[in-house]
Every structure is written in C-alpha cells, then in structure tokens.
C-alpha cells in the first residue's frame, strides 16, 4: 500500500476509538432517559437547535469544497472555504454556549441538578469539546492554506477533514438521541 494510506488508516483508527467513546455516553443517556427523580425534565426546557444543526451540517459541505479546491491547486479558494467552515463551527459553538446559558441561568439546570442534567451536559459537552479541537485544526488549515504551505500536504488536509466529518456525524446521533427521542 502507498504511503497515503498510513495517515488514512491512522485516522480511521482514531475515529473508531472516538465512536466507541461516544457510544458509551449515548448508551448512558438512553439508559437514564426518564429516570430522573426531579425536574427540570427535557420536554420542559429543551428546544430544537435547528439553526445550529444547519450550520454544523453545512460545514461538512464547505470543508469538502475546500479539500476539492486544494486538490485542484486553488490555495486561496481552499483557504476561504476553510475559513467559512471555521466560522460555521464557531457559530455552532456559540449556539451551544447560548443554550447552556439559558438552561443554567434560566432554568437552573446544571450537571448536578438531576439525572437529566448529568448525561445531557456530558454528552453535549463531549461533542462540543470535539468541535473545539476541530476549530483549532481548521484554523491551522486556514493559516497554512493562505501561507501556501498546504500545497505540499493535500493528503493531510483531507485526513483532517475526515475528523470534521466525523464530528458532524456524531452531532446527527446526538441530535437524534437528545433532541428527538429524548424530548
């Protein structure tokens, strides 16, 4: 196999590890659904984060466009798409922060309030922490695309984009479990 596969297999390995990690938090969320002894309950306080979800899911498309531009050697264009992706990710993170602000200050729901708060903040927070790591990677990609250094490392940019796609996929699961099934 050629050298390119080394990075790809490594990233697939990391994605398997992360999937396993998230699976346990999802299982805990589902297992404790409706077991909380006191409020606030999910149906009382959760709102569907539609705008957030649209932002994050469309960032998967923009990063794919960035990698495609990079493959064609259009560095500036790739950099711009990476920038758009970073902004979309940041908007998602701000959205999560606003949601948490509302829940904590408005409804008094913290991780220690009840058996809804505990798995909710852990699962959503674990995902948000992955988004944060993704934003660091995206910022670097942006900088290196504009500086031109990325021209020699198209493969690495593509592998990094796999991580971002994975973070997106996890959000689909979290969205379904927390906001659709759990509400």
């Amino acid at each position: 196999m050629n050298e390119a596969w080394r990075g790809r297999v490594g990233m697939i390995g990391l994605i398997i590890v992360e999937s396993s990690l998230f699976a346990v938090f999802v299982v805990a969320y589902l297992a404790y659904l409706g077991k909380s002894l006191n409020g606030p309950y999910p149906q009382d306080v959760l709102e569907l984060p539609i705008f957030n979800t649209v932002c994050l899911l469309s960032s998967s498309i923009t990063i794919a466009l960035a990698v495609r531009a990079l493959r064609r050697g259009m560095l500036r264009r790739a950099g711009l798409w990476f920038l758009v992706t970073t902004v979309l990710g940041a908007v998602f993170l701000v959205g999560t922060a606003r949601e948490w602000w509302r829940l904590i200050v408005g409804h008094g729901l913290t991780i220690g309030t009840n058996l809804f708060g505990t798995p909710f903040y852990s699962l959503v927070g674990l995902h948000a922490s992955h988004v944060t790591v993704g934003l660091v990677i995206l910022t670097l990609l942006c900088v290196f695309a504009f500086s031109g250094a990325l021209a020699r490392h198209v493969e690495r940019a593509e592998i990094a984009s796999w991580y971002w796609h994975f973070v997106d996929c996890v959000w689909v699961v979290v969205f379904t479990v927390v906001y659709v099934i759990g509400r």
């Binding site: 490594g10 398997i16 590890v17 396993s20 699976a23 852990s122």
Partner: protein
Amino acid sequence: MSVLSETLVRRQGTAAHRLTLGLLHDWVVTVDHKRLGIMYVVTALVFMVIAGLEASTMRLQLAWSGLHVVPPETFNRFFTMHGTTMVFLFGIPLVFGFGNYLVPLMIGSRDLAFPRLNAFGFWVFLFGGILLYFSFIGGDGLYGAGSAPAVGWFAYAPLTARAFTRGNATDYWILAILVSGFGTIATAINLVTTILTMRGPGMTLRRMPIFVWEMLTVSALTLIILPPLSAAQIMLLLDRFLGAHFFDTQAGASAVMWQHFFWFFGHPEVYVLILPGFGFASEIIPVFSRKVVFGYVTLVAASVGIGLIAMSTWAHHMFVVGMGSTLNAAFAASTMLVGVPTGIKIFNWLGTMYGGKIRFSTPMLFCCAFLFQFLCAGLTGIMLSAAPFDWQLSDSYFVVAHFHFTLIGGLVFTAFAAMYYWFPKVTGRMLSERLGRWHFWLFVVGFNLTFLTMHVPGLLGMPRRIYTYAGDRGWEIWNLIATLGVPLQVLAILIFVVNIGVSLRRGAPAGDDPWDAWTLEWATTSPPPPYNFEVVPVVSSRRPLWDLKHPDDPDGPHE
C-alpha cells in the same frame, strides 16, 4: 606526574559522565521502535516485581487465620494496587512492548507507522504508572502519607462515590489509568496502521507470522474496548468533582451501569493480554518442534474469532447481580462459545508438536507448561461460565485461582518463553540455559503450589479480598500451602533477574539466528541496526528464512 594523572582521571571522569548522559539522552529522545519496545518490557518487569511484592505480602497475611502482618487498610490498598498494576502496568506494556519490538521486524518494516506517536504512548504510560504509585504519598494530599486506592481493581460503584471514599487516592487511580489508557490507544492505532500499510515486499496477510496476527487482533480490539473504560472513568470523575449522578442511586441512577461499562472493557481486556501469549507460543512451538505450525488458517481464524466473541461475554462477571435468566443464559452461552476457538488453538499447538523433533530448551519448556496450565484455566473457565455454578463460587478464591491460571499460566509463562527466545535477538547474547532451567522448575512448582491449591479454599467457600478468617473453616492448611509456593516463585524471579544481569555481560554470543528459526527478525543482525534491514527480504511463503536457507525446497508450493 601526579598532576598529569589527576587531569587524566578528571578528563576520563568527565568523559564517562558525558557518555552516561549521552546514553540517557539517547534513550529519552528515541523514537526507535526497538528501544521503545525494550523500555516498555523493562518497565513492565519493574512493575511486575512491585506488584509481586504486594501479592507476597497478602499471601503472608493469609497464611494462617488471625494473622496481623499488615493493617487491614494496607491490605485493601495492596490488593487494589496489585490488580491494577498487573493489568495496566505489567500486562498491557508487556504485550505492547513485545508488539513494538517484534512487529516491524517480523513484517519487514523499518519502523512503526508513527514513531513519534509511539514515543508519546510510552511516556504517557510511564507517567500514568508513576502517578498511580505517587498516590502512596499523595493520596491524602501529602500530609497523611501511606494512602493509596483501596477500592479493588474494578472500582465498583457506589464504593467509589465521594461519600464512601474520601481523600484523593481513588482520583489517582482514575487519572493514572485514564492517562496510561491514552498511551495504550495511541500504540494500538500505531500497530494497526503499521500492520495494514507497512508490510514488506511479498508479506501478504496470509503469510504474516501468527504473532503479528495476534497483535493486529489485539490492537483492533483495544480500539473498541478501551474507550468505554475511559468514558466510565470520565463519568466517575464528573461524579466525584462536579456532583454529577452517573452512578448515584439516590438520584435514580444505577450502580450496575459501572459494572457494565467496566466489564465491557474488562473482559475483552483479558483477551488483549492472552492473545499475544498465544502468539508467543505459536512462534516458539513450531521452531522447537522443527515443524511448520499446524493449521495456520484455523489458528488465525480462531484468534480473530476470539477477538470478536470477546466483546459479547462481559456480563458473565455479573451473574450474581441478578440480571434475569434470559441475560444470564445469553452470556453463559457466549462465554462457553469462546472455549471453541481456544480449544482449536490447543489442538493447533499439539498438532505442531506431534511427530516433531522437539528440543526442550527453556522457551519450549515454558510453552509446554503453558499448554497444561492454560488448559486447566480453560476448564475452570467453562465451569464458571455456567451461571448457577458461578452463583456458588463468584468472588471466591476459586475465581482468583482461575484467573491467575489464565493470566500467569497463559501470559506470564509464554512471556518468559518469549524473553528466553528473543533475548538473543535483542542483546546479541544468549541467556543461560542452566539458570533458565532453575527459573522454569522453581516457577512451575511454586506457581502450582500457590494457585492449584488455591482452588480448594475457594470451593470450601473462602471469599476473595478478606483480610483474615476464623480458624474453624478448614481453610488454614490450604492457605499455608499456597503461601509456601511464594518463596519458590520469588526465588525463580530472582534467578531470572540474575540470569539477565550475568548474560548481558558474559552470555554466549548469539549470532543472527541461534534457534534456526524462520521468521524475518532472525534475518537481520543481533541486535538489529536502527534501520532493521539493509535490504528488506522479499517474502514468498510463511517461513521466509526457510526459503532462504533451503532454496532447493521452498515452502511456497506446499502452502
């Protein structure tokens, strides 16, 4: 004159000083898979000695009823530290250390896929190990020295809740294992990638040495099973520090949840430890029987099969929890199912030895003992997999005897075999056969004296993790015999350490291929150069070195 010699001495002194510093620097900054492999194995052995001493103290305490060798709190800390150390700081680094050293050599590669990640994995693991042992002085925040985690190696909820274990000892346990787990995951990703993408010319998957297959299975398994432990530990940290309620029954949560998460890791983990042991045996037995391994494909299929079934057996650790008969039956069945591929392997090894020209060198002696003892462990395993039988004996010394037969009989014996077998490759010198035989016989007798005997007090109802017991139960004589096995094992390990020390200086030079073996690592010099092979040999069968030595009768057409 004297001034001159003084300067000379001083200059030599600084030179030696510089040499030591230089060597230390070389080892600290190295990213070479061979050096990291050696560091893993040596660290593992150091932790084995520490955990062995803890176990010896416990055996002394239990030798007779009503003894007070150590205070009860210390006893609890010792069994916790012993279990944790043996699994996370001896077993895992030993297995991945051998994988680190051998896999690139066996598949004809110059290094692992991500050498720097490899170094990161080792140092993070070492940091975790030191953090765990730092808890002895830091567990109560330095002023109350002598504290350490005392919640057992599987740290069941709700014992680990803030209310029941105060101080920071349990937090040290969580963080140390969490951190060393990250190192293990990094190494596992590294090995999977290396095996899948960096095999030398002609080294197809169907020609890979069995040990490499075992490491591939084990590493892939690690990717799936270790994160749940990390997740559970993160939850426990949240419970302990942020007042979350993951395992808090008062808030409506379930303490059994921890058991599910822990054993989903914990049970496959024993296969992570044992499969590389099978790999050692599968490399060593053919070479010392002078025959091709019997049933290569079935052996590989059995290994991968064990890896897959391993993930569906975890709740057999929880039969006494009261899961209901459906779940009990399902987990009993899947547990018994593991016996099938394991049984296939036993026949593979017997078939390899059958009709062979067996050389009973030390590595082969350890492998033979492994066959008997692992069979014994498998039989008690099948007994315990029947839920009603387990209800009777769960958490008794019968279980303790069972898993020590699995892990010592399975992993430690084959690991000793591996050390005698590959020591010449790693150092360029042979280990002494005479001392090796003393090591072997003392260890076999000592091990069986301790752990074969231990089945009996278990059957008589002696629970594990008790500090002491009343004198009217008929347990004393069995415990005394079990304890009498300890000095023999200690002596055996001492002889092994002496053997390493003596052989490093005065062992017979090994040459490239002292055992007349067939896998690629023996094609290069002993010790191998940093780049492993001057020219990576082209592989055309499962025994590339046989083909090189016998160009008139290559293996290829017979496979």
